[in-house]
Symmetry: C2
Subunit: 319 residues, 2 copies
């Protein structure tokens, strides 16, 4: 019996499903977005709206629950900017989900509303996984629309089309499409000594270490980006690279591409402007960090982070 191309020794069928922002049950029908799809969606019974003040999701709250889903009739008091709304997609039931930027200032919001950014929603586990995925999609698209109100080619005002997935310039006919920034994030592994490389950026919480990461540059493969970024930040040379999982990261519109990276040198030469520290961690140290029981003050990234996934799956690898 021939083995399947899809067999692997990964501890999960699809590690990409296990990180925050990665679950999204909406049907996008990317190829079938009509010019009037937003109008049509607003008119559907049961349409629900995610409302954003800048990059913050507005939630209705009482003592019991936080509810981010607005019906169309609840929007006017938030002063919606319907010109820049985005059709996210449809629930399996057919119910449309729409993201709407609002112009109501945060300090003017009534006391039964609160507003939180995507990072806080994720860190404080304020939403279920599927809603968090919809928020990631919404934040990325609203940010892209808000930063492309003028044409980069000629400077004229642009207009939103096909539910917020395209903008056009009426002056020079330029067409603009949403942006997603690929970022490599990698756990470098020293297999001979059973250790992994992690660093801390100057802005990390005290004691937290994570995988190194950086933007893929134009004209670069994923593997070359992993090797370049690891070398630039830590001085460690990388041989083989193995893709592991991906994660949407809406700060504001990245695609994290998580890889294992084979360390072929061991002496660290840290880029001090980028990293406050960078070290090798033994399996025992890494396991204690991942399980929140390290005694030296070091901590791992949160469970929803793809960096946690890389660390955990290295620890749990199926031989």
């Amino acid at each position: 019996m021939t083995k399947s191309l899809f067999d692997s020794r990964v501890p999960h069928p699809e590690p990409s499903t296990l990180s925050a922002f990665a679950r999204n049950g909406l049907s996008r029908l990317a190829e079938g977005r009509a010019e009037d799809c937003l109008e049509t969606a607003f008119a559907v019974e049961g349409a629900h709206i995610l409302a954003f003040a800048g990059n913050k999701l507005i939630l209705k709250h009482d003592s019991q629950v936080l509810d981010p889903l607005f019906a169309p009739y609840e929007l006017p008091e938030l002063k919606p900017d319907l010109e820049n709304a985005v059709l996210l997609g449809h629930q399996p039931s057919g119910e449309p989900r729409i993201a709407v930027p609002v112009t109501c200032a945060l300090e003017e919001l009534a006391s039964h509303f609160k507003a939180e950014d995507a990072r806080t929603l994720y860190r404080e586990e304020l939403l279920g996984e599927e809603l968090l995925g919809e928020v990631a999609q919404a934040v990325s698209l609203l940010h892209w629309n808000s930063t492309h109100k003028f044409c980069g080619r000629c400077g004229s005002a642009t207009e939103s089309r096909i539910g917020g997935y395209k903008r056009v310039c009426p002056s020079c006919d330029n067409q603009l499409f949403p942006r997603t920034d690929p970022v490599v994030i990698m756990l470098a592994v020293d297999e001979a000594n059973d250790r992994v490389l992690m660093g801390r950026s100057h802005r990390f919480p005290e004691g937290m270490y994570s995988c190194l990461a950086g933007f893929v540059e134009p004209g670069e493969t994923i593997e070359d980006a992993v090797r370049r970024e690891t070398l630039e930040e830590s001085g460690i040379q990388i041989g083989r690279v193995r893709y592991h999982a991906s994660q949407p990261w809406p700060m504001p519109h990245s695609l994290m591409i998580g890889c294992f990276a084979e360390a072929v040198t061991l002496d660290i030469a840290r880029d001090e402007s980028e990293l406050a520290d960078c070290r090798w961690f033994t399996r025992e140290q890494a396991e204690a960090m991942a399980e929140n029981r390290s005694t030296d003050g070091t901590t791992a990234p949160l469970k929803g982070a793809i960096a946690y996934r890389l660390l955990r799956d290295w620890l749990d690898w199926v031989d």
Copy 2:
């Protein structure tokens, strides 16, 4: 003996190195680009320039050779736009490589010059692999600079910084960074019947079939994008997804992410607006296409395409 995390049954150590545009030996030093790095680079003895008229690389040619490398003193007759030049990086020898847009019209070019776009350079194998990689990087960055001359937030003129890797808006302090668009491209495999799915877009050369492909959307994992695009274009449902290789694709600045996709349904429902045809190909048919010996007029993508790599590596998979 524990197996290495980096062992695999892939027929090559790193399939990403085998496609066009993927080799690039320049040191980018992404973290260390100084404000005056372009001026410094132009002053280095041995600095060489790739000159572009729009998206076309200018080559010096006589009856024997095509040479795309200009010395600084050769530039003036091409009317260089030095404000929008890009420092690509440095050769291992320390020699800088710079990309310069020129304003000389194509019809004004002297007869010992010719100008070709990246697709032609690749198809007609007019450059070595490393130069082709540098051209990919140059095309992506010059296109990005040329389409971000005005601020998307406020409409003011932007200015180039750190060798063309950043633009800033002096009016609103917006900072813009180069754009790379992740695209999934996938070979769907029906393992039970030993077949693969390929389609042809309306614009393909007669008889050519290739992998399905589409942009990763904001808020989507690579795996979800593979499943969504395959379903939307072909009606085929995908289960497991396996990353295989990546490729820079400078039309104008994509990152192709090549995957194998496990087909879990077999009945094709083609999106007629996207595809002129879509079919299953047996191993024998696929092998004949990849080896240019098919007798029914069907052909595979060119060898430098990541779609060819997916097809070839499926044929050559190590059990």
